[in-house]
């Protein structure tokens, strides 16, 4: 594998780091494991002074294009006047949602430490009185927008969705065997809409750990508000 491949890896969340108005940012994805060439606008990411003040409500517009050797999702422009109002918690304004997705078995059953991370983050948000900005969505409706993901995805699928792009980049690095993307939605409700699905896993045949598995249903506190009742009903 050539060094070129590295250039394209997981720079998809680069858009999240900018708060300068009117900046063009490419989001590059490797869908084909051996892209012939990829260009990365590193300069666009190089000055990240505003990184931590990134407002989660930043509005980005994106369009997709694809080529035969590699599929790229690309070019997002940040609109300056939309940015100026981005600090307000106005839920009517469209927001960008970032996600990683994989089949439910991997996300909720195999990946034991995933649970610990979500609990840790929720605990931290509680300590800091921070509003929750990440959710687990079972069979999310937004997947319909991503045929390139769904054709590779085992079902039922589970997505980890957040308005915090860099955190999703981190989760992609951690989980690795997941697909990452982002989309825009007019409201939280729209972004987290899901198709009702029953999730059940068989007990592992061979369990040699000196402790028992996390209880099925551990994910319920992380489901979007509203869907918890559905699960119970």
């Amino acid at each position: 594998m050539s060094a070129v491949a590295t250039l394209g890896q997981a720079c998809w969340a680069a858009a999240a780091v900018k708060s300068k108005p009117t900046t063009a940012i490419s989001q590059t994805h490797i869908r084909n494991p051996k892209p012939k060439s990829l260009s990365l606008p590193l300069s666009a990411n190089s000055s990240c002074n505003h990184f931590f003040s990134f407002p989660p409500k930043t509005t980005l517009k994106s369009s997709s294009s694809s080529s035969s050797s590699s599929v790229r999702t690309s070019v997002a422009a940040v609109d300056s006047d939309q940015l100026s109002s981005s600090d307000s918690a106005d839920k009517e304004k469209p927001s960008r949602y970032y996600f990683v997705v994989a089949n439910a078995k991997f996300m909720l059953d195999d990946e034991e430490h995933f649970q610990e991370q979500l609990c840790e983050r929720l605990r931290y948000y509680g300590e800091k009185n921070k509003e929750q900005d990440f959710w687990l969505v079972i069979e999310p409706k937004f997947l319909d927008k991503f045929p390139n993901i769904t054709k590779r995805l085992g079902r039922p699928a589970v997505a980890l969705v957040s308005t915090n792009g860099p955190w999703i980049t981190f989760m992609k690095l951690r989980l690795d065997r997941v697909l990452a993307e982002s989309f825009e939605a007019a409201s939280l409700e729209e972004a987290l809409a899901s198709n009702p699905t029953k999730i059940e896993f068989e007990k592992p045949q061979k369990w040699v750990a000196p402790y028992s598995k996390y209880e099925s249903g551990w994910w319920e506190p992380f489901l979007p508000p509203g869907s918890k009742e559905e699960v119970k009903a």
Partner: protein
């Protein structure tokens, strides 16, 4: 090291991943986690007999390990910052800052363990460790592979002990284990940082040499842990664990995690791998017995030769077992095996 983090030479440093890691480290989930209570001293006073000695040794070893991590990360962070200040090199400030934040975590862990030692009326002289430490600078790739593995294996050891004790509280003889769940998340994140560093250096991941090194480091780390722990079964049994089962679980999980970045890993789930480890334990015991015998040094050395040869041959056989091709999805040319 200089060229690795030089933003002009190495343009491949994935900014988004490093920025994301920096945000994660700055979040500092465990800022208020390491607070002691009076249960520590009470529990320490109750620990008597051989288990007390074993506990002290465990605390010393853990404290030294965490403190070594602190020194290493602190030094690397410092060096990168100096290069930056000299303006001769455009090193990546994000990488330097992450090293500093990781040294913060390690210092916190070492300090917490050292306070634990004070419950036993002991303290490690960490200042002495700092001065006595010999800085042997390995080639970066050796640091990357080895440190990645030691962080991830550290995570699996701590979480396994934590979850086991949570279910079996009767073995919870000292409250430090209650802190392990949050504590080991730090170790796991440190491992992720090395993952990102290696991804930024594809030469560490993409050729036959990288595969040989990956297998070599996996084997060294797993064997070292297995042999060490098998000499200290009293500790693991003292907290209600079967040492070999505990170690195999940790090895298998660490190997699965490692397979998401290393281009090749060992087939540790093959029962033959464990048989080899067990034979190494037996050979190692013979080696220790020779050392403890009353023979004169020359005789000891002569007796050691065949034993060392036997150990080496087991190691080589384990190394040459058919490996498992692996690696990050971002580099993957083995799509069919992947889970999405």
């Amino acid at each position: 090291m200089e060229t690795l983090f030089n933003t002009e030479i190495n343009k491949k440093l994935n900014e988004a991943e490093f920025e994301a890691l920096l945000q994660e480290f700055k979040t500092d989930y465990n800022q208020t986690h390491f607070v002691r209570n009076k249960e520590f001293k009470e529990a320490a006073d109750k620990l008597q007999g051989p288990l007390r000695q074993i506990f002290v040794e465990f605390l010393e070893r853990s404290c030294t390990a965490e403190f070594s991590g602190f020194l290493l990360y602190k030094e690397l962070g410092r060096r990168l910052k100096i290069m930056k200040m000299n303006l001769l090199q455009k090193t990546n400030p994000v990488v330097a800052e992450i090293f500093s934040l990781m040294s913060r975590d390690e210092a916190r862990h070492a300090g917490f363990l050292n306070k634990g030692l004070s419950d036993f009326n002991l303290a490690l002289d960490l200042g002495f460790l700092t001065k006595a430490r010999k800085y042997t600078f390995f080639k970066p790739k050796f640091i990357f592979y080895a440190t990645y593995l030691s962080e991830k294996i550290g995570y699996w050891r701590y979480i396994t002990i934590y979850r086991h004790l949570k279910e079996n509280p009767e073995y919870q003889c000292y409250p430090i284990f209650n802190y392990f769940e949050n504590w080991c998340q730090d170790e796991n994140r440190h491992g992720d940082f090395f993952s990102a560093l290696m991804k930024a250096q594809p030469q560490f991941l993409n050729d036959w040499k990288a595969k040989l090194w990956s297998r070599f480091f996996c084997l060294s780390v797993y064997v070292t842990m297995y042999l060490n722990d098998c000499q200290r079964t009293a500790f693991y049994e003292g907290i209600g664990l079967n040492t070999k089962e505990f170690d195999m679980h940790v090895i298998i999980e660490t190997n699965r995690t490692t397979a998401r970045i290393f281009p090749a890993v060992l087939d540790v789930e093959n029962p033959e791998f464990k048989r080899k480890l067990d034979r190494m334990v037996e050979i190692n015991q013979k080696l220790i017995a020779v050392g403890e015998s009353d023979d004169i040094p020359v005789v000891k050395n002569l007796k050691r030769i065949p034993i060392v040869a036997a150990l080496a041959s087991e190691l080589l056989a384990a190394y040459l077992m058919p490996p498992i091709e692996s690696g990050s999805v971002d580099f993957a040319d083995f799509e069919t095996q992947l889970v999405y």
